[in-house]
């Protein structure tokens, strides 16, 4: 009888322990998905944050802004990185699913940089010239002061926020069919560095090994290169915010992480990576 009581007691303890384990809060993993432009920045943020917060687990993946926004709507990520503002149609989907307009957090600024091969004599281009080049109206470098050679276009895939932003703000029509789409700004930079007559665009943080083309609003304007000053004071004509999007106002560990990103330490990393702080 006593033995049976002991066994029952032991079983009860095991059961309680198991239930306890089941309900014990697991370390919260924060998932971040979206913009390829922002992926190196997001990875750096996560890496540094996890070092100073050993219990935090942050998983960062790219895929493009569009992919990140879809993941946010589908509940597949906690934070979506986007290099473009959310579209109205995407906001409507978020509204339908979560009864929320979503939370938009500008976390860095970027100047979309025009990449040229280092041997290319062209130094500056106007927005109009860039539009004509990427829409296929201008096909030869000699039309913009370069050698008599065909222009080779390199751009991003249509799930990319950079693709959308550049199309909406610079090209303003369809991209030329000859524009070779590549997965990520790093790939664009790599292609242009190997192609003497190539031209590409992408985030400022990726511009190693290629020449930065100066950009001016129109023929009468002064040409600028994207740097902290020109991006901050709006002189560089192709500037944008980089965003983080969430379904609802952040709480707990996600809030702590975002506060850290927007704080001095996180913004310092923005500059280190090659982007520009929001403040």
């Amino acid at each position: 009888m006593k033995k049976s009581k002991k066994v029952s007691g032991l079983m009860a303890i095991i059961a309680i322990a198991l239930i306890g384990f089941a309900f014990m809060p697991a370390p919260k993993k924060i998932t971040v998905k979206g913009s390829d432009t922002m992926v190196i920045l997001a990875q750096k943020w996560a890496e540094v944050y996890m070092k100073s917060h050993p219990t935090a687990i942050i998983q960062v993946t790219g895929g493009g802004s569009g992919t990140g926004i879809s993941a946010l709507i589908n509940g597949a990520t906690d934070i979506c990185n986007s290099s473009r503002p959310m579209k109205q149609s995407e906001m409507d989907k978020l509204k339908d699913r979560y009864a929320s307009m979503g939370i938009e957090i500008p976390c860095a600024k970027d100047g979309i940089t025009i990449f040229l091969n280092e041997s290319n004599p062209v130094k500056e281009l106007t927005i109009k010239q860039l539009s004509n080049i990427f829409s296929g109206k201008t096909r030869n470098w000699k039309e913009v002061g370069g050698p008599d050679q065909d222009i080779k276009l390199y751009g991003r895939e249509n799930s990319s926020g950079t693709y959308v932003f550049f199309k909406d703000n610079v090209v303003k029509t369809d991209y030329a069919a000859s524009c070779q789409t590549l997965p990520g700004t790093a790939a664009v930079v790599n292609a242009v560095s190997k192609d003497k007559f190539g031209i590409g665009y992408g985030g400022a943080a990726y511009a190693a090994g290629v020449k930065h083309c100066l950009v001016k609003k129109d023929d009468k304007s002064q040409a600028y290169v994207a740097n902290a000053e020109t991006v901050k004071n709006g002189q560089y004509p192709i500037t944008r915010y980089l965003y983080m999007y969430l379904c609802n106002r952040p709480t707990g560990e996600i809030k702590a992480y975002i506060d850290w990103i927007l704080g001095a330490e996180g913004q310092k990393l923005v500059t280190e990576i090659g982007y520009f702080p929001v403040k």
Binding site: Q88, D96, R97, A99, S100, M101, I103, T173, C247
Partner: protein, 512 residues
Amino acid sequence: MKRITNFLLTLGLILPMLVLSTVTKAQNQFDALKKEQDTLKENVSTLRDKVGGVEERVATAEADLAKLTKIKLSGYIQAQFLHYEASNAYPDNVFMLRRVRIKFQYEPINGVVFVLQPDFQPGNITLKDAYVQLNDRWLKTFSLYAGKFNRPNYEVEYSSSSREVPERSRVIRAIYPDERATGAKLEIAPPKIPLKVQLALFNGNDGLTIPDAAGVNINPLNNDFDNHKDFMGRVTYTFKFGNIGALGIGAHGYYGAIKANTTDLLKSDYTYDKKLDNIGKLIKKNWVGFEGQLYFDFLGGLALKGEYIFGVNGTPGYTSKTTVVSPMTSAIKGDTLTLTTLTTSTTTSRPAIEKSFSGYYVYLIKNIGKRNQIAIRYDYYDPNTKVASDQIGIAKWDAAVKTVITDKFTYAGTGPVVATNAQSKTVVVNNLKSGTSDIKYQTITLAYTYFFDDNIKIMLGYEIPMNKKVGTDAKGVGNVTSAYSVNGIAGVYDYSNSLKQNTLTLRLQVKF
């Protein structure tokens, strides 16, 4: 000395031979290497050709893939179990497929979109959406739609797959049956301003059930039957309050008309309004609605949405004429047999009526975490604001049955005779009485939704419709009753009571 000479001679003979042998060997090796090099060159060339072929195939595949990306497929299936509490429902528990839809979207060039969405039901396929959408590629502001698509209204355009409760509110189901209409629409939505203007022109008869004298719907295929086109307009604007929330406000109006099919028109209170010149005259379908959606982030998403609509909705009547030549009748006149025929003309009419109506709905939605959502909706619909509830069943218009017999033959002779069309009889039946279509309803709907993942959700809904009680006669019986029979057991719905008409819905939705 001689030995040295012999040795040198021997060496002189052997050395060239050795050299010759080495050179031959080297030549052979060289030839072999050259052959190997040629083979390698050949192999490289073959490989280059093969890579070229693969590149070509990849380019073709990429081009084909690019064409495929222009086609988008989406859709959803809603399978549900329903339990009806109404006493005239049989069976009162059913499994059914509420929606089985696949949406095909094809964008051959930027800015031109073709959309086709059929709904599949066992033994039946119906066309829901079928339209061409032309988007302005320059300002990205204007879109032109032509075909069959949703009428511009908040609850109509809000997809069933996203709705937080099982069905749309009663007022919307009444004034926008089937949700879609055939016509053209211009949509103005500037990309950087949260403003949307929709202007549409429709045939106006889509989804309407218009019975003839025999009760048969004369509008089964929704083909237009009058020259009048209905106009709809809707304007919405969204105010964003940073990351706190947003308020969307809007208004829509419907300016339409429908062919009367009769020459008598009643007012909303069932009194006579006027005689129409002919059955092709139009009756009014005019209303306006005001909407608002408030989104607020309070421990997760919280939404309060509502709309109020009021106006006049015309119901066409009907006119049916039949002429029957009755068999010969006989009569004795002055000892002589006469045979006559009787031609009876019967006109059965129901007057058209323009009913003033009003209705509204309010949703309160709360999301709990990423997977749970609860919603409550209150909706009200008064299909006839001019007839009080205790007058429903009493208010009516009746031209009274008119029978006129005219003799067209007078007999004065003496011999037998057959007279054709000797008598004519005209019968006119023309009336309309208030009834179930005038009863006011308030409905409370409760729903809980669990989102398994981005594709699958399950909803438990409970709809509680409450009819406004109608008056009773001297015997205490309601002025409006309807008889029914379930498995041979007769019953009567007496609308002077609150009837139990609740419905429980358990729905599984898969969306892709």
